[in-house]
């Protein structure tokens, strides 16, 4: 049997699927007879697979706000709209329409805000023993404490008329500082969370809706705070509650 000369470069091209078919077959035959090279080739191929397994999930990740908040915001603005249209942005569909109304940085930041609120809901609402740091039995203390943390006087909405009672609250780190997180629960154990941060900048926005991993979020900015109300409930049910929250916090 004549020995086929196979170069190192061809072994790599074999692994990377870059050999012409005829040559691929020859290299395969060579490898069948050369265990050591075959082993290297197997290891290289496994490296390729492992790298893709490890990093391919990045392709599906939502773009963080700051990637699209460059110093050249005016140039990026149209880009963002396409990113939103392509579903690349978190809550892409939602981002698409409100980008027209607000500065890019602000909008993306707000979208990221809703995203963080959804994550906080996902993390804390299923907790059985420690859903909150401070329970509703110490409501006055809870509110005073979180107000102190945020440096502004907070109010907790009373949602009893809608069937939701306060469970309690906790302090969370947000991307711009402290966040107050309140949890409510109805008779069936359905939980809603209200995520409140500073930095409304005196602005007001309409309610915006987003969904992430089955969690619905209504979020808005009003005066000194940004709010996000999250729950694994219908959009209409959440809106019903959001309206009451809004009315109570902004008499």
């Amino acid at each position: 049997m004549s020995e086929l000369a196979v170069t190192e470069a061809e072994l790599h091209a074999y692994v990377d699927g870059l050999l012409p078919e005829a040559r691929r077959v020859e290299v395969e035959a060579y490898l069948a007879a050369h265990a050591e090279d075959a082993q290297r080739v197997r290891a290289w191929r496994e490296q390729n697979h492992a790298m893709r397994d490890l990093f391919d999930p990045v392709l599906a990740e939502s773009l963080p706000a700051r990637v699209l908040r460059p110093r050249l915001a005016h140039r990026i603005r149209p880009l963002l709209r396409y990113a939103a249209a392509a579903g690349l942005l978190m809550f892409g569909g939602t981002a698409g329409w409100y980008l027209h109304d607000y500065s890019v940085a602000k909008s993306v930041d707000t979208v990221a805000f809703a995203h963080r609120a959804a994550i906080a809901h996902i993390v804390y609402s299923p907790q059985v023993r420690h859903p909150v740091e401070v329970g509703a039995d110490q409501e006055a203390h809870l509110v005073a404490w979180l107000s102190k943390c945020l440096g502004e006087t907070l109010k907790v909405p009373q949602l009893g008329s809608l069937g939701y009672q306060l469970v309690g609250g906790r302090l969370l780190p947000g991307d711009q500082g402290p966040v107050a997180h309140f949890m409510f629960q109805d008779g069936s154990g359905q939980r809603l969370t209200l995520y409140v941060r500073n930095g409304g900048g005196g602005k007001e926005t309409a309610f915006r809706y987003a969904q992430e991993r089955g969690v619905s979020v209504f979020y808005w900015i009003d005066g000194r705070f940004g709010y996000a109300l999250s729950g694994e409930v219908d959009k209409s049910e959440l809106l019903r509650v959001a309206k009451v929250v809004y009315q109570q916090l902004n008499p």
């Binding site: 190192e8 790599h12 290297r40 290891a43 490296q47 599906a60 990637v67 699209l68 149209p78 392509a86």
Partner: protein, 169 residues
């Protein structure tokens, strides 16, 4: 103009994947993507219509990355590229190719080799494309690829992920 933006955006996820693998760190990777996008937008008039936009954007990312690496050279341990620098390491308890192992092993492949390995293995570029992105001859691509793969194999097979050297994250 519109077409450009649409095309730009299409490449962002892949730029991010590559950046993540290259830097091993989310924050640094996103900085790299951000800087790359900015520079691509500023230099867009230099792009030749009809040529491969993906390759062009990866070239920009490569240049930005190299500049960052140079700027941070003193803070990086990942530039070690001499086998002899690595002390002999004991196999970890687990011989499987763990995610963390791969990440750490990758961080110990010298940058210039890692770039080739990722462009080919992860990004699935041809050797010619990788050579174009990195601005090096194809022979250099092949030799770096070969060294990167053997290095990675040694690191992974030999339990080379045991943290004998501190990996700066």
């Amino acid at each position: 103009m519109d077409g450009r933006d649409r095309d730009f955006v299409q490449h962002i996820p892949r730029l991010r994947r590559y950046a993540r693998a290259l830097t091993g760190e989310r924050g640094r990777a996103d900085d790299l993507v951000q800087d790359t996008l900015e520079r691509a937008l500023v230099k867009f008039h230099l792009w030749q219509p009809g040529s491969d936009l993906r390759a062009w954007m990866f070239t920009i990312m490569h240049n930005v990355y190299i500049n960052q690496v140079r700027a941070n050279a003193s803070a990086m341990t990942t530039t070690l590229d001499d086998e002899s620098v690595l002390p002999a390491m004991r196999a970890t308890q687990n011989d499987r190719l763990e995610v963390r192992d791969l990440q750490i092993a990758l961080s110990r492949v010298p940058e210039e080799q890692r770039e080739v390995l990722l462009l080919v293995g992860l990004e699935q570029m041809t050797y010619e494309e990788a050579a174009g992105v990195l601005g090096i001859p194809i022979g250099t691509v092949m030799s770096r690829l070969s060294r990167a793969r053997d290095r990675l194999r040694t690191l992974l097979a030999g339990g080379g992920t045991h943290s004998a050297l501190k990996v700066v994250k």
